[in-house]
């Protein structure tokens, strides 16, 4: 179940260089949305919509937040939108993360993969540990949100200019040793997802990863957003928009 419409932007923030946070008033979409799902966003003058993960959902306020990075001319156009203007979205789309009542989660985000961790960390509240990694201090986003989500937030940067120096996978290994979670979720570069999945498997922990692919329809009709997965021991092409974007890490072929 999803909706398409033009909805009002109620706030817009510039979080870091080229990264924007747009809060949209869309009660019918907020009501349906689950952490890990995404929106297909129309950029004026461009033929295809841009898939952007839902960062946070506020059902009481009737809003969702989309945090995106300027990747090209289309997202540059989206970054021009201002508070009060309308944004054309199709949402919520795809399958989100599992929410296991009363269980412990570690959420791992890398770079522009961090935004969907806000929503899922919130859903687990104090049972969530959020580990986020960035290149350097200038790229760091959403730390207040991750801390406010209820649990612990661990910040890593590649160069140590903010938080601890090193990769999210190091922090993840330490966190597992200190307090083993029931589930790990991750979003970020493919190589990070592959390593998170390896760590989860070695520790016998369930793991879900959120994937990315170029899309057209966003709803599962056109089949362009193929990704390689394994079902019943056979490699097949699944589709990020409908079968995902969240997949069980054991299903994903990481190349």
């Amino acid at each position: 179940m999803y909706k398409q419409g033009k909805y009002q932007i109620v706030s817009k923030k510039n979080l870091a260089k080229g990264i924007f946070d747009v809060e949209i008033l869309c009660p019918e979409i907020a009501e349906l949305a689950q952490p890990g799902q995404f929106a297909q966003v129309a950029a004026e003058g461009f033929f295809l919509r841009r898939p952007i993960s839902i960062c946070d959902i506020d059902k009481a306020k009737g809003t969702i937040r989309l945090v995106f990075e300027i990747r090209g001319k289309g997202t540059e156009k989206l970054a021009d939108l201002c508070k009060g203007q309308l944004i054309d979205i199709i949402a919520p789309l795809g399958k989100g993360f599992k929410v296991l009542e009363g269980r412990k989660i570690v959420c791992v985000g890398g770079g522009i993969g961090v935004p969907p961790m806000v929503g899922i960390a919130k859903a687990y509240g104090e049972n969530a540990v959020a580990i986020s990694g960035f290149r350097n201090m200038a790229a760091v986003i959403l730390q207040d949100d991750l801390q406010a989500a209820g649990g612990k937030a661990i910040l890593c940067t590649d160069d140590g200019s903010a938080g601890r120096k090193g990769f999210v996978t190091d922090a993840l290994t330490e966190q597992i040793a200190a307090d083993k979670p029931d589930i790990i979720v991750a979003c970020g570069p493919m190589v990070m997802l592959k390593n998170v999945a390896k760590i989860a498997e070695a520790n016998g922990i369930e793991c879900q990863v959120s994937l990315e692919q170029r899309m057209a329809c966003g709803v599962g009709a056109c089949l362009v957003c193929a990704c390689r997965t394994v079902r019943d021991g056979k490699e097949i092409h699944s589709h990020v928009c409908k079968d995902g974007p969240v997949f069980d890490s054991k299903e994903v072929v990481f190349e």
């Binding site: 033929f47 329809c217 009709a221 957003c225 193929a226 990704c227």
Partner: protein, 303 residues
């Protein structure tokens, strides 16, 4: 009063708007927005004899006013279509066009035979998919083979057979005449135009398949021209498609000679596009005193 009902190859459509094959799946993904009964029909995802996984990703690239795709006919195979998709579709009160594609003439014939006696209203024989190595466009770019495939499908079918033509040919009218001579009940055109995009930072094509089919508003004028030429060259009805995005486009392609219209890539930009087109056409008829939309087919007055 519904002014949009049309008869195409003996099949009654409540309106001439049909989502194009490959852009609408089997309708399941759009049902939460509006009932499928709003549509004249659905041309379902290209169906092959056996399940196909399609081409590796990326399979899509944006272009000015359009897109390239290289899906490569990923589908669950004809048996799954008959056992899983068709029983659902028949309950939706819309016409069902089965789009079929084979890698050999024999496969096309077998596909047609499998659909015999089924609830499918029409067959759309795809001889123009640019994204598969065997069959596909190889059939659609050769007059003799195009005719042979058409005949093989007709001989094995109890449905009206519409042949979907490729624009990637020297003379689309010659192909149209050949399939007509071999028994085609209608032709549909245009399939996508073969295109390519390159990422200048990596030097690599954007599509993993290197090349893919161009669709969207960018191809609309090509579609109008080809529909007009083909409609004037054959005596069988023409289903027009290629970049139709608005009701004005639908009227235009009908004036060029199309009696049925398929809407494809426009649905990705606006999933309500088919519904808006239907509403706009109905209003156009009312405003212009047109009792039935069929009256405008082929009415262009060329200079």
């Amino acid at each position: 009063m519904n002014r949009l009902n049309v008869n195409f190859c003996g099949v009654d459509f409540k309106n001439p708007i049909v989502p194009a094959s490959g852009t609408y799946g089997y309708g399941r993904e759009y049902e939460c927005l509006y009932p499928l009964s709003t549509l004249g029909g659905i041309s379902v995802k290209g169906t092959t004899l056996h399940r196909r996984e399609g081409n590796p990703a990326p399979r899509v690239a944006e272009t000015p006013s359009g897109m390239l795709n290289s899906v490569g006919l990923q589908n669950g195979g004809v048996d799954k279509f008959l056992s899983y998709e068709l029983p659902n579709l028949v309950t939706k009160d819309t016409r069902i066009i089965a789009n079929i594609a084979g890698s050999t003439i024999e496969e096309c014939a077998e596909l047609a035979a499998k659909l015999k006696g089924s609830a499918v209203d029409m067959i759309e024989l795809n001889i123009s998919c640019p994204n598969v190595k065997q069959g596909g466009a190889a059939f659609g770019t050769d007059c003799t083979i195009a005719g042979q495939v058409t005949k093989a499908v007709k001989d094995n079918s109890d449905k009206p057979v519409m042949v979907k033509l490729s624009p990637n040919v020297t003379s689309i009218t010659d192909i149209a005449k050949s399939v007509e001579a071999n028994g085609a009940d209608a032709v549909s055109l245009i399939n996508t135009l073969l295109g390519m995009r390159i990422d200048i930072n990596t030097g690599r094509p954007v599509l993993r398949n290197n090349v893919g089919g161009l669709s969207g508003p960018a191809v609309f004028p090509v579609a109008v021209r080809m529909v007009w030429q083909v409609a004037n060259a054959v005596n069988i009805p023409v289903c027009g498609m290629g970049g139709v995005s608005t009701w004005e486009d639908a009227i235009e392609i009908m004036m060029a000679g199309a009696s049925l219209v398929q809407v494809g890539a426009a649905i990705f930009a606006d999933p309500y596009a088919p519904v808006k087109i239907i509403d706009g056409m109905q209003k156009f008829c009312e405003d212009n005193g047109i009792n039935n939309i069929s009256e405008i087919v082929g009415t262009v007055k060329p200079w």
